[in-house]
């Protein structure tokens, strides 16, 4: 069964084996907010790599092929925005990139190496935020944030947690159980988690869901900072994210 038609705003056809690793020794790059264990303090060690060219991805849900022959490439500092009507496979595409779902065909590569689903090395470079905010109702906002960060290997102290919650305007609610927080506040906790985790690739599924206007502005700022620092972003969204258009590539699934 052939897939449906896709559009690329900036078509990037992948020549076989065209990816390369570029080492950037840039001292002008601002150092990471080092509160986290394991961050590199020496700029010359930070080899930044090209992002993820993907060869001919195809996905299936049951017997229906959602898409096939999908290829794209995301470089450092760029964002890939996936749009499309409901049910066209945006979430599936993001889950394939994160490694949760196995594609029906095609491969994902990172820094020139093929990545299998749930590859342990690849898990260390991504931050995935799906539809569900991954919060336990019984734990407080601060405990949820600390727990999620520890799961990702970042042991974060109380001050860093508080300042992250402050940035997303949740510092007064930090001792409340997540059960009583609104949807928007729960999404903000997810946003706070993203700001602390030093991961190059962010995969966000509908990040603007439930956020109010100030939340969307905050999201835009956080994403902009991430891209400016050389990070990469893949996001599925209906709404505008407020990113500088020069850095955005889009894929429209139909």
């Amino acid at each position: 069964m052939l897939g449906r038609v896709f559009e690329f705003d900036s078509p990037q056809e992948i020549a076989a084996g065209a990816s390369a690793i570029i080492c950037i020794n840039s001292h002008s790059r601002h150092p990471p907010a080092c509160g986290s264990v394991g961050c590199l303090s020496d700029a010359s060690q930070r080899a930044t790599t090209l992002g993820i060219p993907c060869w001919k991805l195809a996905a299936r849900r049951g017997f229906a092929t959602l898409f096939s022959g999908l290829s794209f490439r995301v470089d450092e500092g760029e964002a890939l925005v996936v749009s499309g009507a409901n049910g066209t496979g945006k979430t599936t595409l993001l889950r394939i990139i994160a490694g949760l779902t196995t594609p029906a065909a095609g491969t994902l590569t990172w820094s020139g190496e093929v990545v299998k689903p749930l590859d342990p090395d690849f898990r260390r470079v991504i931050a995935y935020a799906g539809h569900l905010p991954a919060l336990k109702d019984e734990l407080t906002a601060e405990e949820n944030l600390a727990s999620l960060l520890m799961l990702d290997g970042e042991a974060v102290k109380g001050d860093a947690l508080r300042s992250a919650l402050d940035e997303v305007a949740l510092v007064r609610q930090r001792m409340l159980p997540a059960r009583v927080l609104s949807q928007g506040q729960r999404r903000r906790i997810g946003l706070a988690r993203l700001t602390i985790m030093p991961r190059p690739l962010w995969i966000l599924d509908e990040p603007t869901t439930a956020l109010d206007a100030s939340g969307i502005g905050l999201l835009g700022r956080v994403l902009g900072r991430h891209l400016a620092g050389g990070g990469m972003l893949v996001a599925a969204t209906h709404a505008a994210l407020g990113l500088p258009p020069a850095r955005v590539k889009s894929v429209a699934l139909s």
Partner: protein, 237 residues
């Protein structure tokens, strides 16, 4: 937020122990904040065990013959009741995805969750059992062996149950399917566990049965987390 090297690993995420510690700490904290649910499950065990002497005759010989079997079957049922809690809540709120995507090994995280599950389900049962065993006119030696057998056997129930819970994630009618999958695996534990207490009651040694239970526990610890982790990955696909 930064462009750390693609191969940078948050320190020590190959280590298994921090993963287990994280899973146990979080699950225990969550479970202790919903204490009612835990109490209800324990109460179920107590009630089931207490129903049998009421329903059958209060004759001492009959009760003491029946006792080990009843206590074990009730422990099995209580374990089955509590198993969906192991993964279903995390699956429903998106935590299981984050667990699968964590740099820590999934096997270690699954083992930690199973350990936390045993601490809130199996361990209270093993602790409470001697008290309930008094209803069945069991003497002191039998009660000691009962506690030991349950202390060794209930972790096996949790470990095997984790496989079933992961396999039936996200399915409808998962409770009955889980029972169907897991009860055959539970039967050896039931046989050796009840036989151990029986042997102590009739004066024969319980060593053989307890050793077999112990061997089963070691096998379960080695094998079950891998199977459960694989099942979790399938469920998330």
């Amino acid at each position: 937020m930064t462009t750390a090297a693609a191969t940078m690993s948050p320190a020590g995420t190959d280590a298994v122990w921090p993963a287990i510690r994280w899973a146990v700490a979080r699950d225990l904290k969550v479970a202790l904040r919903s204490r009612t649910e835990l109490a209800v499950q324990l109460l179920f065990y107590v009630i089931v065990v207490s129903l049998f002497p009421l329903a059958t005759s209060p004759e001492k010989n009959l009760l003491s013959t029946m006792g080990p079997g009843v206590l074990w079957v009730a422990a099995l049922l209580a374990s089955l009741l509590s198993l969906p809690r192991l993964f279903a809540a995390d699956f429903a709120d998106g935590t299981l995805e984050q667990i699968a995507l964590s740099p820590y090994p999934l096997v270690a995280l699954v083992f930690g969750k199973t350990l936390a599950h045993w601490l809130t389900t199996g361990l209270p049962i093993a602790v409470l059992a001697p008290l309930l065993g008094l209803q069945y006119a069991m003497d002191f030696d039998a009660l000691v062996v009962l506690t030991a057998a349950l202390a060794i056997g209930t972790p096996i129930l949790s470990l095997l149950g984790a496989i079933g819970a992961a396999l039936t994630l996200g399915l409808r009618a998962s409770g009955s399917l889980l029972a169907l999958l897991i009860l055959p695996l539970y039967v050896p534990v039931l046989i050796f566990g009840a036989a151990a207490v029986d042997a102590a009651r009739t004066g024969l040694g319980a060593d053989a049965n307890l050793s077999l239970l112990g061997a089963g526990l070691i096998l379960a610890i080695i094998g079950a987390p891998f199977a459960a982790a694989a099942a979790v990955r399938i469920a998330l696909d």
